[in-house]
């Protein structure tokens, strides 16, 4: 890893070099009261005065709705048109939070264990990630409780930590090196010490190792019912989550042509597991809430050596009935 430094006044010209070398730069943009990821044309469009975007950056790699293939019916014959990897643009994800960069671990794992998902992988390969350490955090953030941190480099090709007059650039990967190489002369070695003083202090509220172990035996606990009593099953938590990867497959027919799509889905919906026969393995909201937390904190860790949560707090901010995952996990941690 190289630790470099770039002056504040030089960042826009480096940014312009990055923009010129890629099809798109995707960055947070303010739209009225919300900040969302969008393709940006100029450095000035990038929003920096926010804690967290409403939705995560995952849709750059795993779009909300994505075509799996298209088809055309000719009499009794059907012609299919496969996904074309060449159609995927090269892009840079700019100014993502470390908790979004960290979400690539569970996403990479699910899209690559055994069968390889060529759509996700092509996007992943053609996307470079420049993350920014968080200088501020709010009461919903809990990255440090799930193995991350406001200055965590996991998943980033480059992590920028802003100082008073510039940014420390931790260059983590070959992709990161080639982004720096676009304006190599603007970077100098950074030797001025620790970045910690520029990074938000996010208090640790539970021990995730103990929590994982405890949850393993909690399938029959009453806690799921108690916590989910007010859950509306609206699925907002899954929609804004950087690691939720469950999807539905739907048809979009238009006369004799059409396409098959994959669309984000949520284990919080009653129909998610409903069989045609009427049998539903998870027929109550309590069982669906249990699935959400057990999947993230027990099942994924058992299979993939990662957690299904990066502590971004989006689900709690988005919940219309104020279910706060940080509080729920802390209360599970405190159960004797």
């Amino acid at each position: 890893m190289d630790t470099l430094y770039i002056k504040k006044s030089d960042i826009p010209s480096w940014w312009n070099a990055i923009k010129a070398a890629h099809d798109h730069v995707v960055a947070p943009v303010r739209k009225d009261k919300v900040v969302e990821f969008a393709r940006v044309e100029s450095y000035e469009q990038v929003a920096t005065d926010y804690i967290q975007t409403t939705r995560s950056a995952k849709e750059v790699l795993f779009p909300r709705t994505e075509r799996l293939f298209s088809y055309k019916k000719n009499g009794r014959d059907i012609e299919v048109q496969d996904f074309d990897p060449e159609s995927v643009p090269s892009q840079v994800l700019w100014h993502v939070r470390p908790c979004d960069a960290a979400s690539l671990f569970p996403l990479d794992a699910v899209f690559n264990w055994d069968y390889k998902d060529v759509m996700y992988n092509t996007r992943r390969e053609r996307t470079a990630i420049v993350a920014t350490s968080c200088a501020t955090a709010d009461e919903y953030c809990f990255c440090t409780s799930v193995g991350g941190g406001a200055g965590d480099t996991r998943g980033s090709d480059i992590l920028l930590t802003y100082t008073a007059d510039g940014a420390i650039a931790e260059v983590m990967t070959e992709k990161g090196k080639s982004l720096v190489a676009l304006s190599q002369n603007l970077f100098t070695e950074y030797t001025a010490g620790d970045k910690d003083k520029y990074v938000a202090d996010v208090p640790r509220v539970f021990d995730v190792e103990k929590l994982k172990e405890k949850m393993h035996g909690m399938f029959d606990s009453q806690v799921w019912k108690e916590q989910s009593e007010r859950c509306l099953g609206c699925g907002a938590c899954a929609y804004v989550c950087p690691t939720c990867s469950c999807f539905d497959i739907q048809e979009n027919p238009k006369g004799s042509c059409g396409e098959r799509l994959r669309c984000w889905d949520s284990c919080g919906f009653a129909q998610f597991t409903l069989h045609t026969s009427g049998h539903n393995p998870r027929s109550t909201q309590a069982s669906r809430w249990r699935q959400r937390l057990m999947h993230k904190f027990s099942y994924i860790p058992q299979r993939q050596d990662s957690l299904g949560c990066t502590g971004c707090g989006r689900c709690s901010r988005a919940c219309p009935v104020d279910m706060n995952i940080k509080e729920h996990l802390s209360s599970i941690d405190k159960i004797q």
Partner: protein, 282 residues
């Protein structure tokens, strides 16, 4: 990680419907042939594996492959018309085109069953997944000991594969016990009347050196396992195949997740030992 030459795992093979058989009211079997010869050449499967069958324009459905792995050149699926996709599939006629993705999941370890007796227990529309295993065993009959099939349905009309049931009944190397739920019998019915678990408990079944393969609705499985254990079957000799709702079939969409297992990747074939370790979430 990325190899853009990786195949699109969601793109189905194009298949031609070669034969349509009406098995019971609302139940059909489709025999499918690969439209592309290369696809057919590279395709093979093992008894117990499943596939995603698509009515292009309406969606995909998950069924086990119902034909035996010993018979090449085609695959068959048997399904009951119940939802949008199965309704669309049941409208297909010979010569029509449909999609097929698979084979997916694990399979019955039939190599390990050589020299053992096989006891098949199926209920209703769950005979099709087992039919693949039964015919695979019967096509290589000399490899196995006694073959016993216990099959039950709600009514006489609901029994599927009526011609094959007759064939199995007539064979001297197969014992077939058929039953229908009380009230489902006709005046001509010569089989048993009673629920599958009860009939299994009352049948002359020897657990020694025998593998039991059970397939049926969740409630049938739940009541049959204890009966088998009472008959002396060890949990590791009891097999079943689960059919959770699925979309992708390849461990991505998350729908069939039960505990740390994915039915589509770790199953659909499980032993009673595996099931005992799973949370009650299927």
């Amino acid at each position: 990680m990325c190899n853009c030459k990786d195949k699109n795992i969601y793109l189905p093979y194009m298949m031609q419907v070669e034969k349509v058989t009406v098995e019971a009211p609302g139940v059909k079997t489709l025999r499918l042939k690969f439209k592309n010869e290369e696809d057919e050449k590279s395709f093979s499967f093992r008894a117990g594996q499943f596939a995603e069958y698509s009515a292009i324009g309406d969606g995909e459905c998950t069924f086990c492959i119902a034909s035996p792995s010993t018979r090449k050149g085609y695959v068959e699926c048997t399904f009951r018309q119940a939802g949008r996709v199965t309704s669309s599939l049941s409208k297909l006629e010979e010569g029509d085109t449909m999609g097929f993705r698979g084979p997916f999941g694990n399979y019955f370890p039939m190599e390990e069953w050589k020299g053992k007796n096989l006891l098949f227990i199926a209920g209703g529309i769950a005979l099709p997944p087992m039919r693949s295993v039964i015919w695979t065993a019967l096509d290589e009959r000399e490899k196995y000991g006694d073959v016993t099939i216990v099959y039950g349905a709600k009514t006489v009309a609901d029994l599927v594969y009526k011609n094959e049931l007759k064939e199995w009944e007539d064979r001297e190397d197969v014992t077939l016990i058929t039953t229908v739920d009380p009230g489902g019998e006709t005046p001509e019915w010569k089989g048993k009347v009673g629920f599958v678990p009860t009939v299994v408990g009352e049948s002359p079944i020897n657990a020694e050196n025998t593998i039991a393969i059970v397939c049926g609705p969740p409630v049938m499985i739940k009541f049959t396992f204890p009966v088998l254990e009472k008959l002396g079957f060890a949990k590791e000799n009891i097999y079943t195949t689960l059919e959770n709702r699925m979309k992708c079939g390849v461990g991505k969409c998350g729908r069939c997740n039960v505990g740390k297992m994915y039915v589509c990747k770790d199953g659909p074939v499980f032993t009673a030992v595996d099931l005992a370790e799973l949370p009650d979430d299927f």
